[in-house]
Symmetry: C2
Subunit: 333 residues, 2 copies
């Protein structure tokens, strides 16, 4: 056990040296019982604090044979940053709890930390603390991201109203389709064709922080969520929290292109596939939404209705009720 403790200490020191980004709000980071954060009023305006926490579990959220360690670290933090983006917030600090199996090569952890910290640096996020333990089985990570938003300006899920229009950023279904391709190749024991170059947004998703901030500043949003569980499930969250329903137009839902050669994914992936980390938001009818914000395409895909159900309609107007289908990750892989 002493050997493990020493290497744990060495790991914490290694991460502490790597995590140099100093967000000015972080007064005390790694190395005390708690991190100490100081949020000063900005231009005389008080801020509120955002907190989000997300698991990244081996076998559930990633597979070591599919995902390079850098990708696992990047995706771990991206999950939390995407939640901050969905509130229109700015991220400040991250906390990483990491449980590692005794036989894990230390090099894997170094690459994991590099993936996580290089994403953190791009958003001036300080890795300010966490916990480390020995895992009885597989790699377990839990990421906490703390951010800030001007007082009263956080964009909640609960403020959609009948008549609001529904928009989504980027393209949907790509992450689930990439997993589907990898699973198929694994089952057939065929040569691996999909790698991070062919669909970087699955392996290194870019959280929509800038887009979320602009949407907040311009007051364009009534309700917002990120598409971590899939369009059908995430839209159902907005509808439940707002006490409304929705209608989607099937043919306008933007679908990702995945593979080599790249093909547009099936509608089912775009409707139910998770981990795209796009922003799904509603806007009051009078608001003009640009077709591109911060370089990201924005698509009008439907509207909020009074009846508490979600309908999917095709071009002819024929439709059926859409059931939220939760994202299954890699469980059946």
């Amino acid at each position: 056990m002493v050997a493990v403790l020493i290497s744990e200490k060495a790991l914490i020191e290694q991460i502490r040296r790597m995590a140099k980004t100093a967000n000015p709000a972080v007064q005390t980071g790694i190395g005390d019982d708690c991190a100490v954060l100081r949020f000063l009023p900005r231009r005389g305006q008080l801020t509120e604090t955002l907190v989000t926490t997300d698991f990244t579990l081996e076998g559930i959220h990633f597979r070591r044979d599919w995902h390079p360690a850098e990708s696992v670290g990047h995706r771990c933090l991206a999950r939390g940053l995407s939640d901050i983006a969905a509130m229109g917030g700015e991220p400040v600090a991250a906390f990483l709890s990491l449980a590692l199996p005794r036989d894990l090569p230390q090099a894997w952890v170094g690459r994991f930390a590099r993936g996580l910290i290089s994403l953190a640096e791009r958003y001036s996020v300080t890795l300010a603390g966490g916990d480390m333990a020995e895992s009885p089985n597989g790699i377990l990570a839990d990421i906490v991201v703390v951010g800030t938003v001007p007082k009263g300006k956080a964009m909640l899920r609960s403020r959609a109203r009948p008549g609001d229009r529904i928009y989504v950023s980027g393209e949907l279904g790509g992450s689930a389709a990439a997993v589907w391709v990898m699973r198929k190749e694994m089952r057939k024991k065929s040569k691996r064709t999909l790698n991070p170059r062919h669909y970087p947004r699955h392996f290194f998703p870019e959280p929509r922080i800038e887009l979320g901030r602009i949407l907040r500043e311009k007051g364009l949003v009534s309700a917002m969520i990120d598409t971590s569980d899939g369009l059908s499930t995430d839209l159902a969250h907005i509808c439940e929290e707002s006490g409304v329903g929705a209608e989607l137009q099937a043919e306008v839902i933007p679908r990702a292109c995945v593979g080599k050669p790249a093909r547009e994914v099936d509608l089912q992936f775009a409707l139910h596939g998770g981990e795209d980390y796009e922003l799904l938001f509603t806007s009051r009818p009078g608001k003009r939404i640009p077709s591109r914000i911060a370089g990201v395409p924005i698509t009008h895909i439907g509207q909020i209705t009074r009846q508490r159900k979600i309908f999917l309609r095709n071009r002819g107007g024929v439709g059926y009720e859409l059931q939220p289908q939760g994202w299954e990750h890699f469980r059946r892989g």
Copy 2:
């Protein structure tokens, strides 16, 4: 998988209903991408935000055959609250990430949540969010506690100076000795004699929030930590972060009484046993420290020295260097 998702949703709803305590700082709790916290200045004074995160892993931090579910939930939150106490802070909100094996009885989770939430209520802590996932193996929990402290007043590990006196609250070694008794009985397959009634502080440790707050308000502390890893390790943390050493008097270290009939624990438990969640602090030589604060005994056990080593001396003045011995939890059980 749908069945698991439905029960996950039911669980989140159950926890949401149970978690009614509304700390006024929590603007938005469970049910959005992030929690939204608002820290207003108190009596014109700005506050800083404290964040701490701690794992509770089955087989590492608890065993289902030793610890009732209520105890596991209580201890999970107590770990985080104790870190807030060690900064002299006041806890505000908790976030629970919980990964559960598919075959875990839902009743276990209900009792776990009750243990956690009833401790939260006593400190006006809102359970404001978290994450839920299926665990590939064993119960995994990660608790985040967010608290507040007046600006610049957090009590850090790094401010001890040579000549400062070292104090500890309560008694040490009880938690490790309780585990030792349970392990011995398990090995011998003898009748289980130790239960929560015989040593409640192992099963239901009370975080020293009130004590930490008073020590901060009265300005009595130069450096502070909680004894989660054991006296030798936690004192080493203070010494490392402050760049100092220490001398302890062996015979005055307060030892817990455990078992039936209750016996004072061996010195080794008091020196190296973790999870007592007492406060270990240093104080400048001129300060008068009461022998009891907020009902908890306070014992003077040594002093800070210039030489960067920790010595343990007995009554005759003979001593040896004390090596920090990390807390092993239940790994060898």
